[in-house]
């Protein structure tokens, strides 16, 4: 029964696990992708994961603040995306390259 319950009765945990999986996927992207733009995308993925958990918590706690959080996070994520892409563009203009491997001048 437990097994079927897990599949059939969708609860908070399901959403949270989904969120976590997505978060870690985003993290893998940040850690492993060599393309800077894709790294930015992965960060967006992580933020989206956070949003899922906020909404889920909000819903299961009957707390509307979860959605408000998401509202703010989304806006800030958009702002971050803008800044990130602007930086990426300016870097691309300078280096003609977005492979992260070429940005290792500062080290040691």
């Amino acid at each position: 029964m437990v097994n079927t319950n897990v599949f059939l009765e969708i609860g908070l945990n399901h959403y949270l696990v989904l969120s976590t999986v997505l978060f870690c996927l985003g993290m893998i992207g940040v850690l492993l992708r060599k393309n800077a733009i894709v790294m930015l995308m992965s960060i967006e993925l992580m933020l989206n994961a956070v949003n899922i958990s906020f909404i889920a918590f909000g819903k299961y706690n009957s707390n509307i603040d979860g959605q408000i959080m998401v509202f703010f996070v989304m806006t800030i994520a958009a702002a971050e995306a803008a800044v990130g892409l602007a930086l990426a563009v300016s870097i691309f203009k300078r280096f003609k390259e977005v492979n992260i491997r070429f940005f290792e001048h500062l080290k040691g």
Binding site: M46, S90, R94
Partner: protein, 486 residues
């Protein structure tokens, strides 16, 4: 849910409003003049006036522990003091920007705008009582900073460092946010004051809440560069224009620690023994990492970056003492005093680095200081004072701040951390003395880049004098801070 915005809220937030308005003035003038920069000195003056106004308002209305906007913001002692330090450090950084080749000239108004916005974010961060507000403040501070670094006249390293800083910062932000969501989810609250009521049993039994706290802590550890979350620090500090580095090393660090302190010092919030233990270990590692790596650095800014990491380690000790203390105000005041002292010395050191940079892409090595004492004895003396003070030699402020910090730590039984801290400060002596060795004991022709560094020079001398003298009279100062924290 009755809610009104009243005059009290506005008065309390008036420093923020003033800062925002001040940040817009140069930009507005530039737009009205048809996209032509006004004289940098005018821009600087406006910005400094804005900072002074903000500081004045902060002193006038803040510091009483009043909350604004339905307990979203609080203006207590921590806000007041760290706000003042941040404002002062920001002012110092602005002066450096005014005269640094990588930042002066075109787009100075935009730079000033971003700097003041960053400070605005800081003020929000240190006054925030809501995790959401903390996040917004953090982001406002950081995003402005990324942009500031990115728009440096130096094109290679600063871009790289801006991008690194951005990606890692966002990464840490995501972790931080995930932590907030766990806290929110497990407690239904984001307001720290309300969290306090329920944290004790939450921290005991609820793994999710604990994890949330850990994630938030990691986010802060990233910002204050606690090992192993420190790795961005040397690269960013080195790559960013020196005034920005100074800004990051002081203002950013101060406010991050202040917010960290706000969370940590609320004992129930970190009721977890295990988190406390791991933070001790992080402090230990951080001190060691910062100090040992700094020994091998040639680049002056990078060395100072590692030293900044080491100082974060010391500060974390104080923070932990504040965290477990029943009388939190003592250790907390120690931390704040240390932040003040550290800012003073660091602004001064970076000011000298800034003065010596001849072009925007000039990277200054320790060896480039050779012979500096012969040409600029006063400045060399000031720099020596900063270095010795950073190393914790009496009678400078660096010694007294360390003394207060470790005193608090020993008072709370963290003797082994204090011992470790002082031993590390011995290691640090080695690299702090190196610039002095090079300046005084090697032949060379180091000099400041050109004569027009009046404001920076004054900054250096003022900070040096304060570094030297404030330590001796630090007793009343500390008492004042402590009294305001109760």
């Amino acid at each position: 849910m009755n809610f009104t915005v009243d005059m009290g809220d506005l008065l309390l937030t008036s420093p923020l409003i003033a800062l925002f308005i001040a940040s817009l003035i140069p930009l507005t003038i530039k737009v009205l003049k048809g996209n032509i920069e006004q004289k940098p000195i005018a821009t600087l003056t406006q910005a400094l006036l804005g900072i002074i106004a903000a500081a004045g308002l902060l002193v006038s209305f803040g510091g009483e522990g009043n909350t604004a906007f339905n307990s979203v913001l609080v203006f207590d002692g921590i806000t007041l003091w760290t706000g003042l330090i941040a404002l002062a450090a920001g002012a110092g950084a602005l002066i450096l920007m005014f005269e640094n080749p990588a930042t002066r000239g075109t787009q100075f108004s935009e730079l000033i705008f971003l700097t003041l916005s960053s400070i605005l974010g800081m003020l929000i961060l240190i006054s925030a009582l809501d995790l959401l507000m903390i996040f917004i403040g953090l982001e406002m501070m950081s995003l402005s900073l990324y942009l500031m670094i990115g728009m440096s006249h130096e094109q290679r390293l600063s871009k790289e460092s801006a991008f690194k800083y951005f990606v890692l910062g966002s990464f840490a932000s995501a972790i931080f946010l995930f932590g907030i969501s766990f806290i929110f989810g497990s407690s239904g609250q984001t307001n720290i004051l309300q969290l306090l009521e329920s944290t004790v049993q939450l921290a005991q039994g609820n793994q999710l809440f604990l994890f949330g706290i850990v994630l938030v802590t990691v986010g802060f550890c990233f910002k204050v560069s606690i090992a192993p979350f420190h790795a961005w620090t040397p690269d960013v500090y080195q790559g960013a224009p020196t005034p920005h580095t100074a800004f990051m090393a002081t203002a950013v660090k101060v406010v991050s620690f202040a917010a960290f302190l706000r969370i940590i010092a609320m004992k129930p919030l970190v009721g977890s023994e295990s988190l406390f233990d791991i933070l001790q270990w992080l402090a230990v590692i951080t001190m060691l990492v910062g100090n040992t790596a700094a020994i091998l650095q040639n680049n002056l800014k990078r060395m100072l970056a590692y030293s900044s990491i080491a100082h974060s380690g010391y500060l974390l000790v104080g923070l932990l003492a504040a965290g477990i203390s029943n009388n939190g105000s003592f250790a907390a005041s120690g931390v704040i005093f240390y932040l003040f002292a550290y800012s003073l010395m660091t602004i001064g050191s970076f000011a000298l680095v800034s003065m010596m940079e001849k072009t925007e892409d000039h990277s200054l090595d320790v060896d480039d200081l050779a012979g500096f004492a012969k040409r600029r004895p006063a400045l060399a003396l000031c720099f020596s004072i900063f270095m010795l003070s950073l190393a914790g030699m009496p009678p400078s402020i660096g010694f007294f701040s360390k003394f207060y910090l470790f005193n608090a730590a020993i008072g709370e039984g963290l003797i082994w951390l204090a011992v470790w801290g002082v031993l590390n400060s011995v290691i640090s002596v080695y690299y702090y003395l190196r610039p002095i060795v090079v300046m005084y004991m090697r032949e060379g022709d180091a000099d400041v880049s050109h004569a027009g560094h009046f404001a920076t020079a004054i900054t250096i001398i003022v900070t040096a004098a304060l570094t030297l003298l404030l330590g001796v009279v630090s007793g009343p100062l500390l008492a004042l801070v402590e009294a305001s924290l109760v």
